[in-house]
Amino acid sequence: MSQPDQLLLCDQVGYTVEAPSGQLDILNDISLDLNTGETLAIVGASGSGKTTLLGLLAGLELPTQGRIHLAGEDLGQLDENARARLRRKRVGFVFQSFHLLPSLTALENVLLALEIGGFSAARERAAKALEDVGLSHRLDHYPRQMSGGEQQRVAIARAFAGDPGILFADEPTGNLDRRTGEVIADLLFSINQEHGTALVLVTHDPRLAQRCARIEEIEDGRLISRHSSDGSHEVDESRRAADRPSG
């Protein structure tokens, strides 16, 4: 079983797909964990498997090997609908390409997520979330009327509006210029801290990764090294086994 404050537990997870040339291992023997309020960056080159890992951790898909516990639930034991219900209360998302619905206003985009989650006083909550990201004056604007940075702020407001236990962010600054990217990152981390949310961040931007308490580096589908925000750096295949949580 996972420990009481352990939000995420990933145990010897592998992911294999059928390819024309035979079986293709996307992820191999991945183990990691995350406690409430912790921040974790997963870094790696394009094609290393980091986005797939994020999808598995969030329960968007199931691993072909190993098991994942999210908020105390074994994802492997839940069907797709049950995983969706788990996400609506406990998980927030921020995507690289924002994924706002173009025909909805900023407020409606945030509202939609809250409506799915069945939150009460959704409208007030959505407005407050947008106010928190500094967009109280843009509630009725459509995505096309906003800059990339503003759109990502709406996405952040959407992610935090339901007060999730864990936030998954996939290259949240990948589509933004450096300065805007930094502003967005500041916002992301400050709200994260404020809400005490755990954060799993996938990026190939080392500066962004540095802001997380822990960094896992992935290469060819395997975790190869672990950094800590204090600067220590380990590359040790064997320690992962020792690190494996009990349960």
């Binding site: 986005t51 797939t52 994020l54 999808g55 969030a58 968007l60 898909e61 797709e80 609908n81 049950a82 969706a84 219900r85 788990l86 996400r87 609506r88 209360k89 998980v91 998302f93 995507f95 390409s97 994924h99 619905l101 173009p102 025909s103 909805l104 409606e108 939609l112 997520a113 409506e115 799915i116 989650g117 069945g118 409208r123 995505p143 096309r144 906003m146 990339g148 759109q151 959407r158 996939d170």
Partner: protein, 820 residues
Amino acid sequence: MNSFALSYRLLFRQGRSGTLGLLVAGLIVATAALVAVSVFTDRVGRALERQAGEALAADIAVNSRAPIPERFDLEAERLGLETARLITLNTALFVGEDSLLVEVKGASQGYPLRGGLETASSSSGDSQAADRIPAVGEAWMEPRGLRQLDAEVGDLALFGVHELPITRALTFEPDRSGGPFVLAPRLLVSIEDLRSSELLGPGTRARFRLLAAGDEQAVAAFNTWLKREVDSATQAIVTASDADEQTGAALTQARRFLGVAALTTLILSAVGILLSALRFARSQRDLVALLKSFGATGSEVMSALTMMLLWLVALAIVLGGLAGLIAQAAIAQVLVEGQETGLPPPRLWPVLSSGLFTLLLAVGFALPPLINLRQVPPMRILNQSLDRTIGLGWVLWIVPVASAMAIPIVQLGNLQLAAIVLGGSLALALVLALAGWIAMRASGALATRARSSWRFGLAGLRRRRAAGVIQITALGLGLMALLLLMIVRTELLGQWRGSLPESTPDHFAVNIQPDQVDSVERALLEAGAERLQIRPMANVNLVDSTGRLDDDRFGRQVNVSWIEKLPPANRIVEGTFFAADATSQVSLAQRWAERTGARLGDTLTFESGAQRFTATVTSIRDVEWDSFNVNFFILMSPDAGQRLPHQNIASFYLPGGEESVLREISRGFPNVSVIDVGALLDRVSDIIDRVSSAAQVVFVFTLLAGLVVLLAALEATRDERRHESALIRTLGADNALIRRGLLIEYGMMALIAAFLATVGAALVGWLLARELFDFSYQPSALLFIAGFLSAFILVVGSGWWGNRSVLATPPVRILRTGKL
């Protein structure tokens, strides 16, 4: 690279990747349905004309009171038409001691050019098809003439200077008009015998007729030539529709039915083309931005895209045209009975006009959004949120779309019909669009108050506002076309068929004297006659009027009757029909009143022998002349019967064993003539049958095209739905919520589309029935319930079926792509 090469390569590459598959499929289905239905209805229409041509024994004829000049024949022959000549006149015929007024017809070789004669070896013998006309020196006589003269085949008939042996009993002439007022029996001889009979001297009242038949184009050319050449004072052009009241009316109805059926398919095809065209324009947005970012100018891109569209349309026209031709041939084989009479071969014109229709509509619908694409900024390639809503460019739509719509109007040649169906569809489209727009707005407001899946479903409607309005309009129009065809096929065709029930009177007995009425009635009833009606009839001259009449009409003979109440198949359009005890009143048929100029309130004086009858016009009637009832132009109040010398006329239906009955009647009442109009009835009934099976074929095509349009309409937003459902699944929505949401969204669209389509179909059906078909059609509650329910189920069902992939889209794909 020039635009031509660019368009070719773009087409080739996009085609290979399957991007354009759905677009081309939509266009192909639309064109195929259009070609299949227009070619098929054209063939059926021509077959009907040909069949109706039997009523004339030709495709076209010229009637004349004087001999017809030789050049008329020469021109017809030059055009490749077959010709024949007829001369008819009334004269006394003597057989032994007896004499009888007969109508002698002299026919030249080749007569009849359409249909065939039938003869029997005796007046009561079985009918057989005859493949010739009487040779010089022989005569064929109608059985009732033989009966009246108490003669038989083999006797000698004396007319003019000739004494000819009667060699056959003439049982059927295709061009014998079958009204009850044909008093004189027929004697058919060769035209040479008639010419040499010395009956055609000066002052003769002979009628001359030139018949022509052959290839449709040649007939049309001859008609055009005739219009220039005939002397309207003595000559008239006659077509099949003019030849016989009932056949002509049936043919007109048949043309209308086929026209409506073809138009419904046309509406569906137009909707299909619209959806395809919009989809094409939409799918090219990325490409435009990409090409622009590579340095292509706006006009280069536009010409390449326009050419690409033309390539696609050309491909769809060729493939759809072929598919349509094959399909109509196959279905015609399977569904159309009576292949022995055969359908004429397909013509090129309906294929070409369908192709042109597709081309104009596709261009009309696709070009405005394409032209808008000129404004797509190259930046879109970097940021899709720079997309702008595409404007409609109203003015640009109008020219090609209006030209396209002109094609069926020209083809049908019936502006009123086209106006009702197309105008009705246009009005419905506007109402649908408006209702759709209101629904989108309202659903937004409702969504904020509703519970979760309702909120999601209603928000779905609002999210796809523009697409939703187009979808509702397309769905509604498609459904209306299907429902309208259903109404036409079941209710209106059913009424038409019902107007000619099994027991429609197929015999007339004329010249029944007043003192014979009771005994003839008894004899007929004993013989098994059904639906017997006996009506008085007087032949009178109109001699005076208080109103202003066409002078030519004075002195003309007309058959009149009197009656106590308004007979069936008559409807008062002006004034009030006289009461049973009214005196000196007269009711006129609308057609006669219009021809003579007689009006309500005029006082008319009629004369018969030494008797006069003066009466005031108190009502004008609309008469169903094709109803096979005994109808009269002039109906008088019953007091006329005491003053005017008259005889009586009976109409009845005689099931089986008729020859012996007719002989008995003739023997018992030698003065009474019995006329068999069964063959004529069969001709009309054949026309109805043909139209019914044609409507069935069209219904099958329209249903298929309708389903494709429905799927295409719903397919249009599938990509968006997939993206959305993956996104909200990521945000935590489960399948049930998405499914309920989709169901609510489709349900709302179906509700609006099905409701308005049912109302629209009922209204258009009612208008058609009233204005064109002269039926009294009341939309039934069943139509509303069944039509609405089936439309609703169809939309929700096809939406559901077409969107299975939405539910199957794994949410993880949202991480991989900006678009799904």
